[in-house]
Structure formats: C-alpha cells, structure tokens
C-alpha cells in the first residue's frame, strides 16, 4: 500500500472523528487540537485497525508506555505506516 494512501486514509479517519473536513487537518496538529478525547482516540484506533487490518498496540491506561506514538497527526500516520509494513509486509 502506498504511503500516500495510508496518510490520506488516516487523515480521513481522524477528520471524521473530529467532525472536520480532511483538508482542515494538518500534520502538525495534536489530538487535543483536533478535539479528540481519550474515547475518541479509542474509536479512531478501532477505525484504523479495521481500515488496514492491523493490530495497534494501545492501552488507554498508559498511552505513553505503548509504542504507538499519538503526539501529532504526523506521528500517528508514521506509526500506522510502520505497523502496516511490519504486519502486512
């Protein structure tokens, strides 16, 4: 899967969760900036897992401890790209 497609699809998922247009989501924004709370994040991760058929390591009790970096849209896109390479490659 081309990385550009992954990026587009992840942004679509986050935009849908944030009730924004994909064009209004930028790579530097954080989940806070997008107004996505912890429950919204859990829903987004579910949507990402379904979209790419991957397992995302994430425990809401210790978000910092998991390998899945959620600090920005860019970090999430890169993390998903890595997971797709690892799990679907």
């Amino acid at each position: 899967m081309a990385d550009e497609t992954i990026k587009t699809r992840v942004i679509d998922i986050l935009a849908r969760q944030a009730v924004l247009e994909p064009d209004d989501v930028t790579m530097d924004q954080s989940l806070d900036d997008l107004g996505i709370d912890s429950l919204g994040l859990v829903e987004s991760i579910f949507a990402i897992e379904e979209a790419f058929d991957i397992q995302v390591p994430y425990n809401a009790n210790e978000p910092e401890a998991s390998d899945f970096d959620i600090s920005s849209v860019r970090a999430i896109v890169e993390a998903v790209e890595q997971l797709v390479r690892d799990q679907k490659g």
Binding site: S38, L39, V42, F46, Q55, Y58, N59, A60, N61, E62
Partner: protein
C-alpha cells in the same frame, strides 16, 4: 428509625467458593486471577481473568435446573444457600409475604446469549432451547432465589453496570429501614466470562494483559472477575429477638449521578456519593476507618477516586485505610460491590483489612494508605464501600461494627 443489620452472607468467586474461604484468601492476599479457560480464548487479546475454578455445575444442580440456570444464576443460588443457612431464617406466613430479593447484575445471562448467538449465527442452527429467554433474563437469578426460599415480597433486579449490587443493597437497606420488610435478600452476581463478554471489554482498551494493580504506579488496567455475593439484611430488633448472629450494621447509603460522561468518572459525583452516605449514616468523616475502594486499576478510576476521597475526608484521608480487593478476585462488574462488602465485614468483625495486592510502586496521584500487598490488623468501627459505574452512576454504602 429502624436499624438494619446483616445476618447472613454467602459467596462464590475466584478466591473462594464460600465466605470463610474468601476471607482466608483476602487475609492471605491470594490472587485468583489467571489464564482464562473457555472456548475461543485464543482469539482474544486479553486472556486473564478471575474465573471461578474447580467448579462443576453438575455437582451442584440437576440437569433440569442447569437447563434454566445461567452461570450467573448458579452462582447466585450457591451464595444464597450459604447466606440463608447462616441467617437461620425460614420463610412462612407474614415473613414469607413481605420478604423479597433485590439483586444486581449488569450482563445477566451473558453466557446464555453468547452460546445461543453462536448456535444461530456461527453454526447456522435454526432452533434454540425453549428456555433461552428465562435463562438469560437479568431477573432470572432473583426469581430463582424467591422460588427456592418462598420469598413473596418485593423483588427485582438492578442493572447499573459496576454499581449494580451496591444499588441493589442500598435499595434493600431502604426497604428494611422504612418498615416495608423485616428481611430482604440482596447482593449481586455476574459472569461475563465468555468469548463475547471479554471481547466486548477488550474494545475499550482499558483491560490489563498481566495483572490488576489498583493504585500502583505502572498499573495497566482492569481485569474481569466473576461470581456472586448474597446477604440477608434484617431489622435489628427482629434479629435480636431470635438471637441471630449479627455480622455488621448497615448505617448509610447514597447514590448520585455524574451527568457528565458515559465512561470517564467524575470526582464530584464520587465525592457527593461518599458525602451522602456519611450524612445518611449521621457520621463524621473522622469515624471512617476503612474504605473498600472501587479501585479498578485503570488510570481514570484510581486517580479520580483518590482525589474524591481526599476531598471528602480532608486530613483524615491520611489516617484511614483504603484497599481494592479487585486485585485478588477481579472486577465482578454487577456483582462486585456484593463480594467487596465481605472485605468490609471482615474489617469490622475480625479487625483485618484486606490488602491491595500486585502493588509495585506508589503513585503520587494515589497517595493514600492502600494496604499494599499484605493484610493488616486494625481496629475498624466504620467502613465504607464504593462503587462507581460506567454511565456515571455512583452508589456508596456505610457499615458499622455491632
């Protein structure tokens, strides 16, 4: 005002099949959480839980009964048998007519749902057993207790997720205190230990894959348990007149709603419930020696609960003991408050406070004495039991040594 006492207790759960066995496990800090054992567990990412082990329904019930009793009903009847036997009560005439059963459960006959959905969806069957509905309904357990013991008074089932059995016991307390009944059977039961039950919880991403470590730094979430706790609540003079052994007195109850978020707990809602229970019991906060915490082991609950306790108890929060026995038996969801009430009774009656096991390191955001890893002897005259549910419903009971 009429006083309400506990004259019978029964349980079956991951750390004991009876009350004495459970209290011994609590004193010893034994963990009942281990690898899950049921069909398709290999398709789960969460594979640990506080399952009731060494349990064979066919040793307890005949085939016709098993056709009608989901696992949560079986547990209820086993716990009820112990509680009723301890109380020494038999029900006939007026006592039968006014005594009822108020129980809590969140999922009811979830194993029955799971098995039968599997039959019709996965296996493509077009026929299910005729008793699926009476077996899975949430009030099945309360109904079978009423039938078994001839209890013809007010009976129903409360479903408020993780606060179900505290709400149920609070209702039974109100009914005895108000004079509606001299005796009520109450408590709760849960068994979500099946593929669908655990799979649903996995989705929330709050479950631990290794252990339940409430209030400990490095905690990784909640772990499910299963089982039942059943109690006989009785009017004080009624119990004294017949020379009953009184386990503890229920002195206060309060319930609040956060009106905020469907899963995130609120400090204010929890604090208002604790304050309400103290007010209802006409207690000063300084009289409370032990709190059986809701203590799920999630980041959200444990921080919020500690902050609420600090708000309600002020400086006294540093003197009291608070522990979460979920670290041993797991989170028994709708039955959890009932099993945890046993820890309160043990603190009041035996002067032993159950520990929070699996505790590794202090969390600065949970800076209370959570009785880490080892039970402690303490002179406790008043205990409080917290339950805070998804949906923002909070129910807190207060008990006193008699």
């Amino acid at each position: 005002m009429r006083r309400v006492v506990v004259t019978g207790a029964g349980t079956i759960n991951a750390i004991g099949h009876t009350v004495p066995a459970t209290l011994e496990s609590m004193r010893e800090g034994r963990c009942g959480i281990g690898p899950l054992d049921f069909r398709d567990v290999d398709r789960l990412s969460i594979r640990i839980g506080g399952q009731v082990r060494d349990y064979d329904p066919e040793q307890e019930f005949n085939r016709q009964q098993i056709a009608l009793y989901d696992r949560f009903t079986q547990f209820t009847l086993i716990a009820a048998r112990e509680a009723l036997a301890q109380s020494g009560l038999t029900f006939a005439g007026d006592l039968s007519a006014q005594t009822g059963v108020v129980l809590g459960t969140a999922g009811g006959g979830l194993n029955t749902h799971d098995e039968n959905y599997r039959a019709v969806y996965e296996e493509g069957k077009n026929r299910v057993h005729p008793f699926v509905v009476p077996k899975l309904m949430n009030n099945a357990a309360a109904s079978h207790v009423s039938m078994e013991y001839n209890l013809k008074g007010p009976s129903y089932t409360v479903a408020t997720a993780c606060a179900s059995s505290n709400h149920a016991m609070g209702q039974a307390f109100h009914m005895v205190r108000s004079g509606m009944s001299d005796v009520m059977i109450t408590g709760g039961s849960e068994s979500m230990m099946c593929f669908g039950g655990v799979k649903a919880w996995e989705g929330l991403r709050v479950m631990s894959k290794d252990a339940c470590r409430p209030f400990s730094l490095g905690r990784t979430g909640m772990v499910q348990g299963e089982g039942a706790g059943i109690f006989v609540f009785e009017e004080y003079e009624h119990a004294r007149a017949r020379g009953a052994d009184i386990l503890a007195e229920v002195i206060g109850f309060a319930m609040t709603s956060d009106a905020a978020d469907i899963v995130m707990p609120s400090k204010h809602g929890a604090a208002r419930a604790m304050e309400g229970a103290l007010r209802d019991a006409r207690l000063d906060a300084s009289e409370v020696g032990y709190i059986n915490a809701h203590g799920t082991g999630t980041a959200a609950n444990d921080k919020t609960e500690c902050a609420a306790v600090a708000d309600v108890f002020g400086h006294h929060a540093d003197n009291l003991l608070m522990s979460s026995t979920k670290s041993m038996h797991g989170h028994v969801i709708g039955g959890t408050g009932a099993i945890e009430l046993l820890a309160c009774i043990m603190a009041l009656r035996d002067g032993v406070v159950a520990p929070t096991i699996g505790y590794e390191e202090p969390d600065p955001e949970c800076a209370l004495d959570v009785v880490p890893n080892e039970a402690r002897e303490a002179d406790i005259s008043v205990a409080v039991s917290n339950a805070f549910a998804f949906g923002g419903f909070n129910a807190v009971l207060a008990l006193r040594r008699v």
